[in-house]
Structure formats: structure tokens, C-alpha cells
């Protein structure tokens, strides 16, 4: 594995857990909906981590990365990991409609993951609306944005109002400051953004509807949110609904993922305890000779399989 990925991974464990959940889910969806000839569209930046996974895990060949930064674009062209990736320069709100206008992309499912820089704002919400109403049948859309509380108002009293400015009528009138605190804002934004996505699709009577599939609040040095779902064609809708309704579906996460940065020694020690049917306790961790917070232990136990293999970093 390339060194930048290891470095990238090792300092951002929650991010890689999130990616793992998303691609596991996408794989199950692609299989059940029997998707073929899918196009992957995203912001590969210069790392293309998600593109690597789209190719390896989902077997997608044709991929499009959009990059707004001119320097980033040059570096992306230089760094792209497969020849079947095309890098487009410009903002996604300009490039996506152009992609949609090309006949070759119109009848194929898209998997679009807009892994944004920065907080949710009016512009991103507008782009979400556009994509929900214009992606071809059987597309899957995902959005990632930051949920740091200060980006939604410098003072706590401003935040509920700001959230409702951005997301509109789906935001309950009694949204509180508490809902928008550092700890709660990622989950609040995740739920309300999902509500927004479902509403756009339902209010515009898009055939097939929207299947809420990914709702992942995670902590990656700042609070982050990934949300998304399926825009099934009428034929594939029941199969996709069934997959997401299964007990084993992991895409809807009810507790913020906060995989702690850990040393190799700690990871190896804890991992040796797993899998374990019961709940790994803090007492046990202390017995093993170190310490972690309860929710960190829960995150680790639930998601250790998605953590990168740390051994490779030292290799």
C-alpha cells in the first residue's frame, strides 16, 4: 500500500471506518440491485482513496474525479491511480450537469460521493437537491461535510437558526442549542440532512423514492457527517429496500464513531481480545495495562475490522 495512504489512514481512523462502512454497504447494494456499468463520481483529491476502493471493492472501472483547485487538479492528474479515472477541473455544481448532459452517462447508474471540504451551507444543499432530482435511476448518492459547531454560528444561540436557514422546513421549530452542541451537532445534522434528502425526493415525486441508507456521524479531529441513500428505479426498489432493512445493515449509525488514535501496541493488545460476543469493558482494558474511554472502547469493538492494518505502516 502506498505510504501516503498509510499515513493518511493511521492518523484518521474514524475516516477509514466510515469509508469501510460505506463501501461494505455499497457492495451489498450493488449486488442486490444487480447494478452494471456503474460510473463512480467523486472528489478524489490527490489521494484517490475512495476511487481505489470503488475499483477494488465494487469493481467499477469508469470513474470521474472533480477537482476545483487548479493546483489540486494538476496534482490529481499526476497522481491518479488508474488510467480509467478522468479528472475534470472545476466545481462540481458546474461539472455534474455537464456529465448528466452526456448521453453515455444518462442511462447508467451513478455512485456519487461528494466528500466536501467544510461545513454544510446553502450551496451544498442546492447541489444535493440537483443531484437527487437529476441522477439516473438506480444511482446511489453520498455526501460528507463537517459538523464543527463554530461553522454554524460563532455563538450557540445562533446555531439552531443557522441550521434551519440551511435545511429549511424539515428542521423542527424547537431545535435547541443543546441539539447543536459539539457532541450532538453531528448526529443532529446527520438526521436533519437525511430528512432533507428524503423530503426533496418525496416532494418532487421522483419515481422509486429515496432509500435512506447511510447516516454516519464520526469524529475525525472535527465532527463529520456522511449521509446518503439509493435512488432506485422502480424495478430495483424492493431489493434495495430489503437490504437496508436487514438487521445486519451497518450504514445507519446511532452513535458517533470515534475510533481513537491508538498505538500499535494498544491495537494489537485489544485486537487479540476480539471477536468477543460480550462487551469489552473499561475494566478489562485497564487490566490489559492501559486505558480508553467507554465510547472509544465501544467504537473500537464495533469497528476494528474497518481499521487499516496498522502493521503495514511500519513495513
Amino acid at each position: 500500500m502506498a505510504s501516503f495512504d498509510s499515513v493518511n489512514y493511521s492518523i484518521r481512523p474514524s475516516k477509514s471506518v466510515q469509508r469501510g462502512i460505506v463501501f461494505d454497504g455499497l457492495r451489498a447494494l450493488c449486488a442486490s440491485m444487480n447494478l452494471h456499468d456503474t460510473v463512480y463520481i467523486g472528489f478524489g483529491s490527490i489521494w484517490f482513496t475512495d476511487f481505489l476502493m470503488a475499483h477494488k471493492v465494487l469493481g467499477i472501472d469508469e470513474m470521474i474525479s472533480i477537482e476545483a483547485s487548479p493546483v489540486g487538479y494538476k496534482r490529481a492528474e499526476f497522481n491518479k491511480v488508474y488510467r480509467s479515472i478522468s479528472v475534470l477541473e472545476g466545481r462540481s455544481d458546474e461539472r455534474l450537469p455537464e456529465i448528466a448532459a452526456q448521453v453515455e452517462y444518462q442511462a447508467r447508474p451513478w455512485i456519487v460521493w461528494l466528500d466536501y471540504d467544510g461545513a454544510l451551507d446553502e450551496q451544498k444543499v442546492e447541489e444535493m437537491r440537483w443531484l437527487l432530482l437529476n441522477a439516473p435511476p438506480n444511482s446511489i448518492v453520498l455526501f460528507t461535510f463537517s459538523a464543527t459547531q463554530n461553522a454554524y454560528g460563532a455563538r450557540p444561540a445562533q446555531r439552531p437558526g443557522r441550521v434551519s436557514d440551511i435545511l429549511g422546513a424539515v428542521v423542527p421549530d424547537d431545535l435547541t442549542r443543546e441539539d447543536c452542541s459539539k457532541e450532538n451537532l453531528p448526529q443532529t445534522l446527520a438526521t436533519l440532512t437525511m430528512d432533507f434528502l428524503s423530503s426533496v425526493v418525496a416532494d418532487n415525486a421522483r419515481p422509486g423514492g429515496f432509500i435512506r441508507s447511510f447516516q454516519i456521524p464520526y469524529f475525525d479531529s472535527v465532527g463529520m457527517v456522511t449521509v446518503g441513500g439509493v435512488l432506485p428505479g422502480l424495478g430495483a426498489a424492493p431489493a434495495a429496500r430489503a437490504i437496508v432493512a436487514e438487521q445486519s445493515w451497518k450504514g445507519i449509525v446511532d452513535e458517533m464513531i470515534e475510533a481513537p488514535p491508538m498505538t500499535l501496541k494498544e491495537v494489537a493488545t485489544l485486537q487479540a481480545e476480539l471477536p468477543f460476543a460480550g462487551e469489552l469493558t473499561r475494566d478489562r482494558v485497564q487490566e490489559l495495562g492501559f486505558d480508553l474511554l467507554e465510547h472509544q472502547i465501544r467504537s473500537f469493538q464495533r469497528y476494528y475490522k474497518y481499521l487499516p492494518s496498522f502493521a503495514e505502516i511500519v513495513a
Binding site: 454560528g153 455563538r155 423530503s199 418525496a202
Partner: protein
Amino acid sequence: MIPVEKSKARANPTKAFFVRMITRDITLEDCIFDLIDNSVDGAWERAGGRPMSLNNDTDLSAYKISIEIDQNRFLIKDNCGGISLDDAVNYAFTFGRRDDADTENFSIGVYGIGMKRAVFKLGSSIDITSTYVGDDGLSSFKVPVNVSDWLEAGNSSWDFDIDEADDLDEPGVCIEVQDLSEATAQSFASPRFVQDLRRAIARDYALHLHRGLVIDVQGKPIKGWSIEMRQGGDFSPMRESFKEKIDGEDVFIELLAGMEALPPDDSDPEGDWDENQNQSGWYVVCNGRIVLAADKTSLTGWGTDNWPQWHPQYSGFMGIIIFSSRRADLLPLTTTKRSVDATSPLYRRYRSHMREPSKTWIAYTNARKQSEREQVAEKESKTKAVPIFEVSARSEVVLPQVSAKKRTPEANVSYSVPKPKLLRLATALGNIRMTYKDVGLKSFEYAYDDLVGEE
């Protein structure tokens, strides 16, 4: 010669036509409101059934209406007394009100169409269960309606079967609709629809919720809108009561009007003016239910008879006219209960009463525009919001005299900038939700201090 068997043109409606017609011009939300109205009528009747004036202190806290909505099912359940078997046999399922029907006391339902129209609009597999206190204790029945079977059964029989049923927890009605229509299922899949429904219930049943009625949607009770007017200093709202006799029956009218919120400092329609959020305008209430809210159209007089059209400059004004009568059919309701019947003589008569407070307010906002900002702000700051129930009787709105200002010539600055940049500047100035106007003023002051300095 016309043969005997051809001497009549057939004019019976078909069921299918009838269902199409009655469900056509009503929104899903108003259908749900029709069902809530039936429950509310039950509660009001049981609680004593008197005219719902603002002073009436009927306690509704024993009554609860629960609504559950999802993509596959609609459910409304109340403990408001239920429908008796006799009423079900004779009246409750009849299309339209029968001439021999008792008039319910101070009810909102009037046309005898609400429940049928609502369930037909929602879906095609319907179960209506009622538990009531009969002569020998609790009795129950249910009316299952399978719309396609009913349509197929032909046009000769319009009746529905009544079956045995288990008792509900308390006397009341439970209506469950499945096989939702496509449009209904789509709306129910929209969290926006559900939020907006909550908002509309909070507003339109505010007077019932204020009296303790519980309405919950998806298990969460709705907090009623507390309707308030501002008074204090030189400001007093008006409140007046009237009584009319129509067909030998009393109709009670109450009129309130005044300042609901501080008026905007400027009325630039291109600013961050949000028409939807604005509560200003006229409200019409019939037997306790708000049927027209925040109206700014000719229905409540704006733009008619020399009365100017609504303008954002007038926001801050609120007027409420409340009609109540034992006989709901005397009130200016439309069948959808989402508007007033502007042809009603009663309503037209009272529209002239509504005109006066509107005019007083218009004059105030005109004078205010020409006056010293600080002087107005000082006066307006003395007001505080009070619930409308506490407003005292007075036949006119009282508003302060404001004097025109000594004028320094003013320059109006207006320019457009990209919105993301404006939001970033607002954030840097300390408040991402600052009005555009304030961002402009603050930037001007900032530049002025920096480049010009002391005056």
C-alpha cells in the same frame, strides 16, 4: 312521442365520480384536519359545548388525539367519546348532512363530508372503529371500507357494513387507513410534510391546545402557538365583542387587532425578507378553529375598497376575527375549512369592522417611516407581548403619535455581492445570521471609521 321508459334523463351520480369529485380540491393536510375536527368536536361536545369565546375556560386536558403517519399507513385515534351505533347507522356515514340530523353544538364539522372525503383521499383500505358509552356500558363496532370492493358493488347500494369490534382503551374513534394512494404515500415519506403538518396543527388548533387538548404526531405532543399581541406605553390593541341573530340563532363575534411584532426597519422586498415566516395579517376563526391564517389578500380586505394592497411595510400587524355559533352552518366557513366564504353576508358585514384597525396601522407605519428612528424605537421598546386572552376590551387600536424628523439628506446604497461571500463577512462580523442590511451598514461604518475617522 317519447316512450315512457325514455321519459327521464338519468342523473344519479356514480360512486366513482363522486369519490373523484369530493377528493379533488382538498389538500392532504386539510383532509387530516377534517379528521382532527371530528375528534375536536367530540371533545368540545363532551366538555360542555359552549361558544368558544376567548374568555371561555373549558378544560380540554382530558382529551387526546394521536396521529401516526408512515409510508404504508395512516392512523388517527382519539378518546373523545366515540360515535354511537345509532349515529353510525343514521348519520355519520351519510354523504352530506341529512336534513333531520341534530346540529351538533358549536362544532367545526358542518357539511357531513369530512370523514368520508378524508379517508377516500388517504387510501383505499379503511377501518373505522368506535367505542362509546351506550345504555348498557361500553359498546363498540367497526366499519371496514374496502374502496375498490365498494366501487365494484355498483351504484345501487352506497351503504357500508357495520361489524362487531373489540373495545378501544377508552371511548373514542380510531381510524386506520392502509393501501395509501401514491400521492399520499409520497407525502408521508417526506419529513418536511410531517414538520409542516405539526406547524399547521400548532397554529390552527392554537385555541384548543391552549385549553389543554393534547394532539400528538408520531408520539410527540404538539405545543400550540401562543398568540400574542404587544402592548404597553402608547400602544394598546383593540378587542371588541358583538352578537348577531341569524335564523333565530345567536352568532358571537370577537375582533382583536394590534401590533404583533415590531415592524421592520425598512421594507426592502429584496432583502432577507421571508414572507413565509411572517405571522402578520388577518386570522379568521370559526368555532375555535383557525380557518384562515396570516392573510394578506383581498379576502380580508387588502387591496379592496380603497384599502391598499398588503406591503411588507405593514408587517407587525395582526388582526383576529372569531365567529362562533351553535350552528356551524351559519359561519363563513368553506367546505375545506381552509378559507372564508367571502360571499357570506355575515362575513362581509364584519369586514368593514376589520378595516378600521388595518387603516390605523397603515397610517402608523407611514408616519413611522418619516420619523426619527430613535424616537420610534424608544416608544416601541416599551411594549411587551401578552397572550391575546389578556388583552382588555377597547374599541380602537391605540398607536403613538410620531413626529417627522429633522432631515439630514440621506443616500441609499444598494449593491449585490455573492451570497457565500456575504455569509463569510457576516461570520467575521460575529453573526452568520446577521441581516444583509446590517452587514452593509457595519461594513460602511467599518470603512468610514478607517478612512474618514471622527466626524
